[in-house]
Symmetry: C2
Subunit: 346 residues, 2 copies
């Protein structure tokens, strides 16, 4: 397999290099065919790398950046002052072709804005969207977008999200004629926001899209659709709600029954069964699918959770590698050309 180079915004996220550096080393150890460019303050990064295995360090390079965009900065202002920041330098490495993808757990709005500015949207795309792939109850997967890149989405944007999601499901997940649904607060045609109702009308008229109607929040994990389209506000709320509930259940598995007195064999057996349950639900653990892909750009950008731990950030790096290998931006561009050209004629 050809080697890939990925640029890592090592300073971003709630924990910065404390998470990104060990995660980068973990990713290097498990993927022998990747090279990582760690972008950030060398004075902070180098000491953290001191004890790393030299065989890993051969595939790692520190790229200096003098500043970091704060997680809570206003995106517009952050973008204006972004020159020399770890996020911007990482994106510039992709723009210049020195890296094939960028991974950041920094400020979402700034990442969205800078990525659009530097890497440019694909032809016909108004605004990129944050997309992730969720496991569902039927043992398949659902593509969901937008997850927060666009707080206000008009109907034209929702339609573009649907097209990108559909291409993603077909080309990357291998689902033929993927079902596409809009997230709404009811199944009836008159329900919900005007932008959603208008998008529904447009999607029905697009022969390239297998539009199946509205789905509600309780269907997020039921596998009734292959692609779930929503504006960034609703998408963010539904994904985070799901994550919160899943984390609560997983934490209860760990704590349940502790502090109670009971015989050792019952305790052991209880643990064993809880471990099995935890494994059964483990694929729903948000850490397992960390990393949302910014779809609709001429390059690959992966947004990790700001609060990602080492394992979760390593998963995001893995996502970047997979997205590049599967040529997601190129495939979306090719299919978009066809779909949007035909829909213009319709």
């Amino acid at each position: 397999m050809a080697r890939l180079t990925l640029a890592i915004d090592a300073m971003g996220g709630d924990f910065g290099p404390c998470v990104t550096v060990p995660a980068a080393l973990q990713a290097l150890a498990s993927h022998s065919e990747i090279i990582l460019l760690l972008v950030g303050d060398p004075d902070i990064l180098t000491p953290l790398l001191a004890k790393a295995d030299s065989s890993l360090l051969e595939r790692l390079q520190v790229v200096p950046a003098e500043s970091v965009i704060a997680s809570d900065a206003r995106p517009a202002q952050a973008i204006r002052n972004s020159r020399g920041s770890s996020m911007r330098v990482a994106l510039e490495l992709v723009k210049e072709g020195r890296a094939q993808a960028c991974v950041s757990s920094g400020n979402t709005g700034a990442l969205m804005g800078l990525a659009t500015l530097l890497l440019k949207p694909l032809d016909g795309i108004k605004r990129p969207a944050l997309m992730t792939v969720l496991p569902h109850q039927q043992k398949g997967k659902t593509v969901i977008l937008d997850l927060g890149a666009n707080v206000d989405s008009d109907s034209a944007m929702l339609v573009q999200f649907a097209v990108m999601g559909s291409v993603m499901a077909e080309e990357v997940l291998g689902i033929a004629n993927p079902r596409v649904a809009l997230l709404n607060i009811g199944h009836e045609e008159h329900k919900g926001l005007e932008s959603i109702r208008d998008a529904a009308l447009s999607l029905k008229a697009l022969p390239q899209i297998n539009y199946i109607g509205y789905l509600e929040g309780n269907d997020l994990l039921t596998g009734k659709t292959d692609v779930l389209v929503c504006d960034g506000f609703a998408g963010n709320i539904t994904l985070k709600t799901m994550e919160g509930v899943v984390r609560m259940f997983l934490s209860l598995f760990k704590s349940s029954g502790e502090g109670e007195k009971r015989s050792w064999w019952l305790t052991l057996l209880g643990r064993w069964i809880k471990k099995r349950l935890a494994r059964r639900f483990g694929h729903l653990n948000p850490d397992q699918y960390n990393g949302a892909c910014l779809l609709g750009l001429r390059g690959t950008v992966i947004k990790s959770h700001g609060a990602a731990n080492q394992h979760a950030f390593a998963v995001a790096i893995n996502q970047a590698e997979q997205t590049v290998r599967r040529q997601v931006p190129e495939r979306i561009a090719a299919r978009l050309d066809a779909v949007l050209a035909r829909s213009d004629k319709a």
Copy 2:
């Protein structure tokens, strides 16, 4: 305890009388101090009551209604044609003082519109909101509103929801100085929709409200706030997402491990432990807190899930009884007067 009379829209919901009639009988059996007026088609309702215990039937009366509002009807049209419908007749019984509350699992939009039309909003309230009380991880409860009565909510409406939720938490849940948060997609002040940012500014300026800032979807069950305020679209999405995930977990408890061969004692013990886990999580079962209260009206209206089963609909009837006994509308009216008057001056 004084007897209360509750009007039940017996024809509403996905399953109509097949659920509402047995649920009504269940509620009568467990609450000796309520009288139920079952509103609907006597030709359908009477046969379903044939085998009921005569002691229960003494506290039940069928009130005829000639039509039913379809769950998927457009609210505006449904309201225009609502005369004689089970939902409207049930609300009229409250308006006329023949019943103290109404319970319906019918069309949400129609219920919201008709209830506002017939029972009138409290002074100072622009639009009523659907509110429910969710159990959270810290063993307390969170008031959440709006859950879908208002798809588009401006900042003034969000502020009113905050006031109503705060009164509800203080007066009914007994929480002194309840914390109030707005549901948003980030903690930072600049995040989210304009209506939410404007509401945050107003809430900060209201000394009667203990406003603590934004919370995200993953904090729905963490108990970080006593009142969570959102527009009806986001509220509906977050609540339904939570319910979907909880139901999935609860269903997995039931099915987990079935079909596998193992010794009988391991199977039994496994079941026992799973049962304990299910009990531990059972309070999160959406059926346990079915019934959202339409806050901001001069009367009590409880909206049950359209898909509620017998047990869940009985819980909604119980909610109606509790809401009347605790004088929720009266308490909200009294406190609203004070808060709104003071905030007008501010």
